[in-house]
Amino acid sequence: MNSEKKQAEMIKEISGVNPLKCMKCGKCSATCPSYNEMDIKPHQFVSYVINEDIESLVNSKSLWKCLSCFACVERCPRDVKPGKLIDAARQVVVRQKGQDYLLADEIPELLDPELPQQLLVSAFRRYRR
């Protein structure tokens, strides 16, 4: 199996999503609060996984713009849940060494006095291995 195919399989497994169930209604994209910040739109995640173009998916801005707010997961009529796919793609990235989206050095300047613990731990979980 080539590595993209393997990654696509991995994404399907981690997310538990069967992208073939998608009927391309676009409700995820209609729902997404980060839509305008994304280069690959939520409804497109599915076809990237089906076409095994994981390279483009993991290099997309969208990976880091998804809020994991689960609105698309909740509203998807086909049980496809694109939010889970993008989460899984992010896992694929952060599990590779040196691919962390959040570097230790950049943290101090991002902090402010009110910033809650929760924000740091959440961001760490999402952005780093």
Binding site: M23, K24, C25, G26, A30, H43, A71, P77, R78
Partner: protein
Amino acid sequence: MQRIGVFVCHCGSNIAATVDVSKVAEMALMEPGVVHAEDYQYMCSEAGQAKIAAAIQEKGLTGIVVCSCSPRMHEATFRKAAERAGLNPYMVEIANIREHCSWIHKDMEEATKKAVILMRAAVAKVNLNTPLQAGESRVTKRALVIGGGIAGIQTALDIADAGYEVDIVEKTPSIGGRMSQLDKTFPTLDCSACILTPKMVEAAAHDKIKIYTYSEVEKVSGFVGDFTVDIRKKARSVDMNKCTGCGVCQEKCPSKKAPSEFNRGLNTRSAIYTPFAQAIPNVPVIDREACIKFKTGKCGICSKVCQAGAIDYEQKDEIVTEKYGAIVVATGFDTIKLDRYDEYAYSQSKDVITSLELERVMNAAGPTHGHLERLSDGKAPKEIVFIQCVGSRCADDRGKPYCSKICCMYTAKHAMLIRDKYPDVNVTVFYIDVRTPGKNFDEFYRRAVEQYGVNYIKGQVGKVIPQPDGKLLVQGSDLLDNRQILKEADMVVLATAIEPNPDVRKIATMLTASIDTNNFLTEAHAKLRPVESPTAGIFLSGVCQGPKDIPETVAQAGAAAVKAIGLLAKDKLLTNPCTAQADILLCNGCSTCENVCPYGAITYEDKEVNDHGIRETRRVAVVNNALCQGCGACTVACPSGAMDLQGFSNRQILAEVDAICR
């Protein structure tokens, strides 16, 4: 010993491509009792049947096995062929080597082996078959139609026009059904009432049709040709014979807060009411939940104002028992509840409505007298958004997995009507696919776009966001432009999925008619018997069988009527001879079988028996062959093996088991 012929069908390449049919025939000749075996291209064809007939006559066959498609497909065909050749039709067994073998296996060797085993089992069974004679049962020449919508009315009219008595049982106070709630109909934009009302009147006036409104089917017993049905006539509290339909009672009724079912709860009605002006019968009912007289004992105004003296507060539910030969189910549909789709703000804003509610809004007899206005503030909308597929085509448990079929067309109709009547109103339709298979349907939809300028956007809506100023912000996708749209609207219309009337499950159980996971009644064959239920004597009309529009419903209603007429036209029906038989010499008289018989077909009698010379009177089971449907529950309940089922006897089934496990 039987003389058995085995006939192996190629079914073109359907069987022959994966099963070595000549091998099956060859192996058959090694089975005990088999004296003839052959294979042929199409056994069900005339030539194939001729081969069977020839072999029966030439070889003096006493039983035959056809290795072919499912017995559900051609058992009857081959039985008839055997009968014509002088063989008892019940000496025919089918080995299903198509659906259960060639179609599901790919490996030729494996499939052939299995086919041989299936053939052996059938041969083993035929070896123990005995000729059976079908009995006869009478046909009551009267049909029952459950549901008084367009489907039920059309079926009843067609049956009655053929000269048979037919009764309609309708749950609500008037016949008319969903169609009476519609304003216009696609694709010709006829006024719904204008085409429906004459049919309602015709049904009411027809001397062969009897209509029970405000009534429900309570109990069904019997079988094809001879059903006995209890109908509950709910207390109307108004004497049907005295009421003149003047309407004064409704005018004077002080309790006017009950939500109008007919107007989908968008306005209210009085406690004594007829659902709509053209109701048939034009006799009101008292809604006892809403009536002050029933709630407090005081009031009685309707009784005072009724000059005919028709008001009867003491009226009770009445059970009518009738006999029918055929039953047609036409229970129709409702729209699904939208509680779990609140991203569309249906429960949060009055200006988010379903399409069926829009029908009422657009209708001159509706809550806004036909003026298109917002239900929140009565203002005329300038921007209307339609959302399609709300609850249809859903894989999750919120909605329905099927396409509701009618929404694309009625949405186009609504959009067109609005643009026609109010050219200054902008109409946007969010769609996933536009599905318009039907005569003049796509042309209709294209007219909405091209002639009326309706704005179709491919993409679903994610959320409807009510604004403080009362507007509705619709956040949707435009998949073709790849952008997220925020559109301000004054009204949002949801093309809500339809589902079978929830009562249908209860009715299906009473009729022992099968029903699918979506509560649609199952047809006997998806392609070839679409208006018959697998349960003999039960026919399907309209949406209870699957989503369909008016023209299709009317066509199916007619088809169901023809099937019912075909049944009623017979004087006698042949009964299934595969019934239970008690061996009185073995019967203990314990009544265990009687306790499990769902048809009350078993009774106990004191009978004189001759048990190997000993004559004595014993309490023994007796099966009524007209009532017995052949389920076999009694045969297993009987500890002594006295009860056996003809056509599926213990020894026959054991022989099949042995053949398979050999």
